[in-house]
């Protein structure tokens, strides 16, 4: 189904609203015919039949009523169109958000976040204009001229023919010139956007220019560039304005044609004055919806391109999200379990190289595991697989012999505390930031977990304690404090498994020490899988997995791996050499 059809279907899905909009728009427009007829009657009676005001007063009163009705219908039409747009926007936003939640963060990897935000915000706003302005107008542009034709044809065939011939020229030229100017504009566009960016670029780099001693010279360049920008832009405008020119031309010349043609027939007595005057009044109204359409054409095209992005997103296939509703018995801290990676492979859709290549490894409850390897070796991919942000392409991950994909996703994740490398805090209170997993946790529990994360002093110094908003209040958390808030989250969750991406070393000894202490407390008694960035971590691990280009190349304890004199030792040595 194409986007146009889908959008119209969206509009129709709002029930009675859409037909009502069309009805009132049609009534508001259609009453013009009646109004014009009344006015031409009045003029004709006064002018030719020499009637007085009193004799035509009733006609004028009816005209007033018609005018009043038109105004009210216009009001209803616009208000309802606004309502429709908002309704559709809300429902599409809901669909979009639900979809993004289902697609998950692995879909968002890379630069897509910015694009996605634009789609979710500006894209929906563009659709707003499509539904509130463009769609009602396109319907009116189809309905009203036809109505006027139906009235005019029996009255005067010749005028009807002029209308029929000229009307299609408007959309035809609109499209033709639109295409022409689009080509023309696109060719100039690269240059234009470069010139347009020049000023911003200069302002952004002003201090660099000052440092280089080039800031005064740059002022002259701005003058030159602005002048060129003007020349190029004007060349583009000369073409783009042509479209408005032609539309205007067709509408006014046709009106002039009709006026002269009926004037002459009137002269030779082939026509009634009242009819002729009616046609003159109605002629501009005949072209009006078509011209309005061209004014809103832009909104329509923007809406369509936004729609294609939104529908494209909604149509993105969701890989590997077999939804399981079966609640299993949750594993707790006391339970014994094993997690098996069996020949697990994965590659990212945008990257042909395999991120994880037939990996076999085993985790046993209560033990600490460290992942090491160069950046891009596949360590984080393993963590993402564990958290089920992505699904293995081949192989399986088993918990006590059962594929983890068979678990209900939320339940599965409730057993893992995830500590990412970069602390991710949200614009809400400290309390809500810590009890992210479940807002039902008590304040006491939150306090306790903050204490475990070594943040009691930090909390005491906050103006509103747990209620202090974290990002807006001007309280600046140091990097280490933010990371410990994330640790507090994990303490509160009290999950049997911890997956951690260690932060890289800071240069602040005190912060470092506090974080290491807290994370050691967190690991105690839990099963941990840590992407290691510290010597102390690998030394303390029960088992180290060395990953290279997606493959598990070595495993063992620190001492065992040192003795191997292989990749692990290389890794340690190159790290030392760098510092």
């Amino acid at each position: 189904m194409n986007n146009n059809a889908r959008l119209i279907q969206k509009a129709r899905s709002t029930g009675i609203l859409f037909p009502l909009i069309v009805l009132f728009g049609f009534l508001a427009g259609g009453l013009v015919v009646l109004q014009s007829w009344l006015l031409s009657e009045v003029i004709s009676k006064v002018f030719l039949a020499k009637q007085t005001l009193a004799q035509v007063l009733s006609l004028l009163q009816i005209a007033l009523l018609v005018v009043l009705a038109r105004s009210i219908f216009t009001f209803i039409n616009e208000t309802l169109a606004g309502k429709l747009a908002v309704k559709i926007k809300d429902s599409l936003r809901e669909e979009l958000f639900a979809k993004i939640n289902r697609l998950g963060p692995s879909f968002l990897k890379g630069e897509k976040t910015g694009e996605l935000t634009t789609t979710a915000l500006q894209g929906l706003d563009a659709l707003d204009a499509f539904f509130s302005q463009y769609l009602p107008q396109i319907l009116l542009a189809a309905l009203l001229p036809v109505t006027i034709l139906v009235v005019v044809f029996p009255m005067d065939v010749l005028t009807g023919i002029v209308f029929v011939i000229t009307a299609p020229l408007i959309p035809l030229f609109m499209i033709l010139i639109g295409k022409l100017s689009q080509n023309h504009t696109q060719r100039q566009w690269i240059g234009l956007s470069r010139l347009g960016a020049y000023f911003l670029d200069t302002l952004q780099g002003l201090s660099t220019l000052m440092q280089l001693g080039q800031s005064k010279a740059r002022g002259d360049r701005i003058r030159q560039v602005s002048e060129r920008y003007r020349e190029v832009t004007m060349n583009v405008f000369k073409i783009t304005f042509l479209s408005a020119f032609v539309l205007e031309m067709i509408a006014t010349i046709s009106t002039a044609l009709v006026a002269v043609e009926i004037g002459l027939r009137l002269l030779y007595g082939n026509m009634e004055f009242q009819q002729a005057f009616f046609i003159l009044l109605i002629a501009p109204e005949f072209y009006l919806p078509l011209r309005n359409l061209s004014v809103r054409y832009h909104a329509g095209m923007n809406g369509l391109s936004a729609a294609s992005r939104i529908f494209h997103l909604l149509d993105t296939p969701e890989v590997g999200t077999t939804i399981s509703f079966i609640e299993k018995e949750t594993i707790t801290l006391e339970d014994k379990f094993t997690i098996d990676f069996q020949k697990v492979s994965y590659h990212y859709p945008e990257n042909p190289e395999t991120a994880i290549d037939f990996i076999d490894l085993q985790l046993e409850s209560g033990r600490h595991y460290a992942l090491v390897g160069e950046s891009g070796a596949g360590k984080s991919t393993l963590a993402l697989l564990m958290l089920r942000f992505i699904t293995p392409e081949t192989g399986r991950i088993l918990l006590n012999g059962e594929d983890i994909q068979t678990w209900n996703l939320d339940q599965w994740r409730s057993m893992i505390a995830w500590v990412p490398q970069k602390a991710n805090l949200f614009n809400t209170s400290l309390l809500e930031n810590v009890r992210l997993d479940d807002p039902r946790f008590s304040e006491e529990a939150v306090h306790l977990s903050l204490e475990q994360a070594g943040l009691s002093d930090f909390v005491k110094n906050l103006p509103d304690g747990l209620e202090t908003p974290l990002l807006e209040s001007g309280i600046r958390l140091s990097g280490g404090e933010a990371q410990r808030v994330v640790l507090a989250r994990a303490f509160l969750k009290n999950a049997p498994i911890v997956v951690m991406d260690e932060p890289t070393a800071h240069l602040d000894i005190d912060l470092e020490r506090a974080f290491i202490e807290a994370s050691e407390r967190l690991q105690k008694g839990r099963t941990t899988l840590t992407i290691a960035h510290r010597l102390a971590t690998v030394r303390g691990a029960d088992q180290i997995f060395v990953i290279n280009r997606g493959r598990l190349v070595e495993e063992g304890t620190h001492a065992e791996l040192i003795a191997l004199k292989g990749g692990y030792l290389n890794l340690l040595e190159s790290a030392r050499r760098m510092s």
């Binding site: 003029i43 006064v46 002018f47 030719l48 007085t52 005001l53 035509v56 004028l60 105004s71 616009e78 208000t79 606004g82 936003r93 809901e94 958000f97 993004i100 939640n101 963060p105 996605l116 979710a120 915000l121 470069r194 020049y198 911003l200 200069t202 780099g205 002003l206 201090s207 660099t208 280089l212 080039q214 701005i222 003058r223 602005s226 003007r230 304005f241 020119f245 031309m249 010349i253 009106t255 002039a256 006026a259 004037g263 002729a276 003159l280 942000f389 994740r413 995830w418 614009n427 992210l436 600046r476 070393a505 240069l507 470092e512 290691a532 960035h533 510290r534 010597l535 102390a536 790290a575």
Partner: protein, 576 residues
């Protein structure tokens, strides 16, 4: 009022073009009125069956107006947009000159991104000041007055009715609608920006939110906000609907009122029946002149706000400071930082306390410490971008604040991570270092910056476009182009602010060796958080919480057993 005056002043150089475009605007709407007026005249006259010769003039009139209208409109748009672009370039030039000449503290603030986006937005708003505000208002006034006076000649009441209808439709209604919608629109804007920041937060935190199972709850909270915003939007569209309805009503009521007054005049014989028909159509057509006014009112409002902000930002008191007169070839024999204290603002963490050191040619001083310790602000102080609260920087025995900042900066080359590349060709970017450099010299510095291979792969060589702020290059390439540019500068002092931090280890080593060798006769201030190469410097300053905690040569610090040796242990702990 003051802002309006200032804005109008910008239009002064273009007064003739503006007059032309206003005239064309009047001609456009006049043609519309003329087309309908002469058509009505033609038809009404024809109904009286005169000879064809009597109709010739009006037939020609109808045809002329039918063609002229579109032509006038086209020309009007061209002229007015040309004025627009000229106004925009003048505004830009003016703004740049003001900012360039003003003390750069503000440009260095963290909010510079916000500021610039606002400036760009404001400039764009003002660009439309002429086309959407000045021109439509003048055209509306002239046309309304003209048509009303024309009818007023026949009967004063006709003119009065028309002018009242036009004024209510063009002035009263827009003002009313702005007053009513403004608070709503403001609320809407707030909600929209709230919605947008929440959405961004949700998307960026999706991984954490999903791992904690709270993503649905989070999305639901945003959707509630979205629906709340929608309810405000519905109110706005209702108000807009009322406005459209009223505006349509006013037009038609005015026309009916015209007829109500004119019909008895026809009966009395003081005007002809032909005139009645003409008045009806002219009255209708004249409302086109005020159609653009509601938008003009909105734009005027926005323009005034934008103008006010821009003038506040751009206009400064000229500080006519006299600087020491210095010989053309002046180079300070040393740079001494003495008792420097600096605090950026109360909210920011970093500050500098009692910093002192002396940089001489052929010496290298390293400044180490955790990020955010204020190392970079020291560079901004040396380059006179900021002023210290206490203490001073001396060039020779001269306080640097008494030297023209341009002369101060001409002694330093800076390589930092935040060096900007411009949206221009590679050549243009390099030449900023030294506009006189020839290709040979450019090649030379590219080689020194380890960019020779990269350069040889560029199909367009020096003319290669390196994109917005150099974003087409990788981080490392960008950094190295900035290094090459600094090498071209050939200044007696070199400020290195984490110069190679985002390069790979091999390149890092090569470039640092090059820099140290090439500039062994210069004074180097080397800021870093990486402890490599510290054996090559003459003095190390360890900065913590804004004060120099420890200082000395590498040996001295290593042996002292202080904070420095603890940091060494920490760095050796890292696996990266």
């Amino acid at each position: 009022m003051k802002t309006t005056y200032k804005l109008l002043r910008f239009l002064k150089p273009f007064v003739w073009e503006i007059c032309l475009s206003v005239l064309l605007g009047i001609a456009t709407i006049g043609s519309g009125i003329g087309l309908l007026g002469t058509s009505a005249f033609l038809i009404a006259s024809a109904a009286l069956h005169p000879s064809i010769a009597d109709l010739q003039v009006s037939i020609v009139g109808v045809r002329f107006f039918g063609i002229s209208r579109a032509g006038f409109r086209y020309l009007e748009r061209l002229v007015s947009h040309s004025v627009n672009l000229r106004v925009l370039s003048r505004l830009r030039e003016w703004f740049y000159d003001q900012v360039e000449a003003s003390p750069p503290e503000e440009l260095h603030s963290r909010k510079v991104g916000d500021l610039l986006n606002r400036v760009m937005g404001d400039l764009e708003t003002l660009e439309n000041f002429y086309v959407r505000v000045v021109s439509p208002v003048v055209v509306a006034v002239v046309v309304s007055a003209g048509v009303s006076m024309f009818m007023g000649i026949f009967d004063a009441r006709l003119g009065l009715i028309l002018v009242t209808g036009l004024a209510v439709n063009g002035i009263l209604l827009p003002i009313l609608s702005i007053l009513l919608t403004r608070p709503l629109a403001k609320k809407m804007l707030e909600m929209r920006s709230d919605l947008s920041s929440r959405t961004v937060e949700w998307l960026q935190g999706l991984e954490v939110l999903q791992s904690s199972g709270s993503h649905t709850r989070w999305a639901e909270a945003i959707l509630i906000k979205g629906r709340e915003g929608s309810s405000w939007q519905t109110r706005i569209s209702t108000l807009n609907g009322i406005n459209s309805g009223l505006s349509l009503l006013l037009l038609n009521v005015t026309v009916l009122a015209l007829m109500w007054v004119a019909i008895p005049l026809v009966t009395q014989g003081s005007i002809t029946g032909v005139s009645l028909a003409v008045f009806l159509l002219m009255g209708m057509a004249s409302f086109e002149s005020v159609a653009g006014l509601p938008q003009a009112a909105v734009m005027l409002n926005a323009s005034l706000e934008a103008g006010k902000r821009l003038f506040e930002l751009g206009e400064r008191q000229e500080t006519n400071k006299s600087f020491e007169s210095l010989p053309e070839s002046w180079t300070p024999s040393h740079v001494e930082v003495r008792g420097l204290c600096f605090e950026y603002s109360a909210e920011e963490n970093f500050q500098l306390k009692e910093i002192s050191f002396t940089l001489k040619p052929s010496t290298k001083i390293a400044l180490v410490g955790s990020s955010g310790a204020g190392k970079t602000s020291l560079i901004n102080l040396i380059l006179q971008f900021w002023k210290p609260q206490e203490g001073s920087i001396f060039l020779d025995q001269m306080e640097s604040s008494r030297v023209d900042p341009y002369r101060v900066r001409s002694n330093f080359a800076l390589i930092s991570q935040s060096t900007t590349l411009f949206s221009a060709s590679l050549r243009e970017n390099l030449l900023l270092g030294n506009p006189q450099a020839d290709d040979q010299q450019l090649l030379e510095v590219l080689k020194l910056a380890e960019l020779e291979d990269w350069f040889s792969r560029l199909p367009q060589g020096f003319e290669t476009w390196i994109g917005d702020q150099g974003l087409r290059l990788s981080g490392g390439e960008r950094q190295r182009v900035a290094i090459a540019r600094a090498l071209l500068q050939n200044r007696p002092y070199l400020l290195l602010d984490e110069p190679v931090e985002n390069l790979d280890p091999t390149t890092r080593k090569k470039i640092m060796t090059t820099l140290f060798n090439l500039f062994s006769d210069r004074g180097i201030l080397f800021i870093t958080h990486d402890f490599a190469w510290l054996d090559q410097v003459d003095e190390i300053l360890l900065l913590q919480n804004g004060i120099i905690l420890e200082r000395g040569t590498l040996k001295e610090l290593e042996q002292s057993g202080g904070r420095y040796s603890e940091l060494i242990v920490l760095q050796n702990q890292s696996l990266d």
